[in-house]
Symmetry: C2
């Protein structure tokens, strides 16, 4: 399978003297899943040719935290008190959730991700094999973890991450201990040990709310990070922590020496009034920060362009510093940093030899004019709807807004039917 | 001119028992600029028929603060220190600005507004007649004010608002004294007096930054609102104040008894690290709050769906209250409240007899599923790109994403040419 993208404006996300290399015009050739040329393509036969003349090519975006299976509950209880929302809406509904719901909700999420330029995501939920099926069908990548809470330590041995055999290398696994406040000390200690032995990364919620910190303080007399240290959680492990809103300076000082990433979820943190993560402080300490959307219950879309912009904007107001997170850094959060967070370090950049996850942006729209600075436009003006075409793993999965891997009408219809059954049947 | 919108999901923005009336399916008939029927349309001949079966109809959005003429500088200097940005980039460029630049930049802004569902906006800038021309061509509405600063009091008599004779009733005027820190006490006092006499509303920047408050304190020993009170600014006047980030409790207590609206510009306030406006507090006090985008130099788009969502989200985190501004309220900020802010109180709602400013949203997209709550989806998931068709003043100005009033390619091309000349020529 070979693809030629002809005459396109290329943002590689490579850096030069600490700055993103400015976009330049070139051809891109993709063969057997990899980028084989960025430059002037030879006259040859290609299986597919995409006209890039009104397009900008950049790496597919990477969503570092979400719960695709919750897509059936988008808009099912917004603007409610957190506890009433959880206990009256989400938990009773999740008790009725069956594996087919995760398949149908997963497909809806994968469809929305493709349509907004996301080609890889990290997920934590139940019925993981069904989400894996949706990802396989959609043609994108995911690092999937099974959320575990209130579990006995032995259950780790039955975890998805240890037992699932993926049918495509677009799917990788992580462990998913839910959070310090929902897992026991014994469980988290055992989890850390099994992760070290297996070399499988860990995905966890950490320091999302002030209330979480209060709960952990009451129970253990320390902060959530100190509690995890007590579980020997970080040593020798690769940890992806979602949220990190209430990370303290001492936490950051400690965590910077570990293989530790934060997936910041700025829209969810605003919507649930959790707070604003100290993104600049984390970056300054050398900690890898990526961006995630969280689920559509607390967002309520999975548009990574909106998410990276929000990450950038709220970082500025948090520190009352308009330079806190500049545009180039915001793009890195959603590309190269996301790749590192998902332990898929080959991704997030366009270069010869790299895996071909490429999105083409339709820049022939008013908000991309004048042509002063395309990096600024991508961050401060663009949206996921500007994505015209998507290539993942060297295959075209969306072409001029038409998704080729999923039946859009059917995915929306079936998700809706399942949601009505799930949420309103007794 | 008659239009039938057949079988559409209608969000009227009317309230019932303090809540927005839920969307319902109906036909909408428009005749001679007004909505003549929302219900079951009779068999008849209509000049235009729009199929509403995969659409939601709602009032066109109202952008309560912007500077359309600055569109040529989108992306020309982001992530800079405010003073360096102003003195090295914006001010020297604005000195070279000619009236044709405002026409071409204005057209670019009007085009972007149409494509994202805005049908009326309040603007403050120079060469106002050129912006008026762009608005007239585009077919939307604007309330235009000429920005005045460092002016002698007598110059008010030459203000655009007093002298311009609009060629369409889609254009109205306001006075535009720039801000308390750029206008003298004498000027502001005279401005207030002339506004009272003429009955023309005032558009002003107020309480945008902490630095503004510091400057006014140093100069006058009081807050910006106290300074304006000293100029007898509010009595008998209709005032639209942009930003209002640093309004104090005593200011709010005073202003609630006047015909005073705030245009909150949340994205601009984040991007320039100005702060977060006390929207919930203002609403609780009974003050009319609308939403604006500010210019694309500090946003950098003019997508009102993104803006109203951001207003709603940051209000929650500001007060650490997830219920601070619920979805229905967020939609009101950008419709009925915007209409009130612009002194165009007929707008912002769909009802029989009202002026026909209607947008049709393409809800056949993954982020509008499942169908739990369309109001939630519009606020938390939608974007301006979801707008399929736009009717303003009873005329179709965009149909299935094709703008009918402006030549899109030409507008983008000419704006770009002008911007390159303006920003990079010596």
């Amino acid at each position: 399978m070979s693809i030629l993208i002809k005459n396109v404006n290329v943002l590689t996300m490579e850096t030069e003297n600490g700055q993103l290399k400015a976009p330049f015009t070139a051809d891109i050739v993709v063969e057997d899943g990899r980028i084989t040329l960025i430059g002037s393509a030879p006259e040859a036969e290609y299986d597919e040719v995409l006209d890039g003349s009104h397009r900008l090519a950049m790496p597919g975006l990477i969503n570092a935290h979400g719960h695709a299976g919750m897509s059936l509950m988008r808009g099912f209880g917004d603007d409610m008190e957190l506890m009433s929302w959880l206990h009256d809406r989400i938990f009773p509904t999740e008790e009725r959730l069956v594996e087919n719901d995760v398949l149908l909700g997963g497909r809806l999420a994968v469809l929305e991700m493709i349509k907004t330029g996301t080609t890889a995501f990290a997920d934590m939920y139940f019925f993981c094999d069904k989400l894996a099926q949706a990802v396989e069908e959609g043609g994108i990548r995911a690092s999937i973890s099974q959320g575990m809470n209130f579990s006995p330590a032995e259950r780790i041995q039955t975890a998805f991450a240890l037992n699932y055999k993926p049918t495509t290398d677009r799917i990788t696994m992580m462990f998913g201990p839910h959070a310090p406040y929902t897992c026991s000390e014994e469980f988290l200690t055992a989890q850390a040990e099994v992760a070290r032995e297996s070399g499988i990364p860990i995905h966890i919620h950490l320091c999302e709310t002030q209330d979480e910190e209060r709960q952990i303080k009451e129970k253990y007399g320390c902060t959530p990070v100190e509690f995890l240290r007590r579980c020997d959680f970080f040593r020798g492990n690769k940890v992806l922590a979602a949220h990190g809103v209430w990370l303290h300076d001492e936490d950051i000082e400690y965590l910077k020496d570990y293989d530790f990433s934060v997936a910041s979820n700025p829209v969810s943190n605003l919507k649930l009034a959790s707070g604003i993560a100290p993104v600049k402080k984390l970056l300054d300490a050398g900690i890898n920060v990526a961006v995630g959307t969280d689920s559509v219950c607390s967002n309520n879309n999975i548009d990574m362009f909106e998410e990276l912009r929000t990450a950038c904007l709220v970082a500025k107001v948090r520190d009352l510093d308009p330079l806190a997170v500049p545009a180039g850094t915001a793009l890195q959060l959603a590309t190269v940093n996301g790749a590192k967070a998902l332990a898929l370090s080959e991704l997030g950049v366009l270069r010869e030899g790299a895996k071909a996850d490429i999105i083409l942006i339709d820049t022939d729209q008013p908000h991309f004019f004048p042509r002063h600075d395309m990096i600024s436009h991508l961050v401060y003006a663009a949206s996921g709807k500007d994505v015209a075409s998507v290539i993942c793993d060297g295959k075209i999965i969306m072409r001029d807004r038409q998704v080729l891997t999923l039946d859009e009408e059917r995915v929306m219809y079936e998700a809706n039917e399942a949601a009505m059954r799930l949420c309103y049947s007794k």
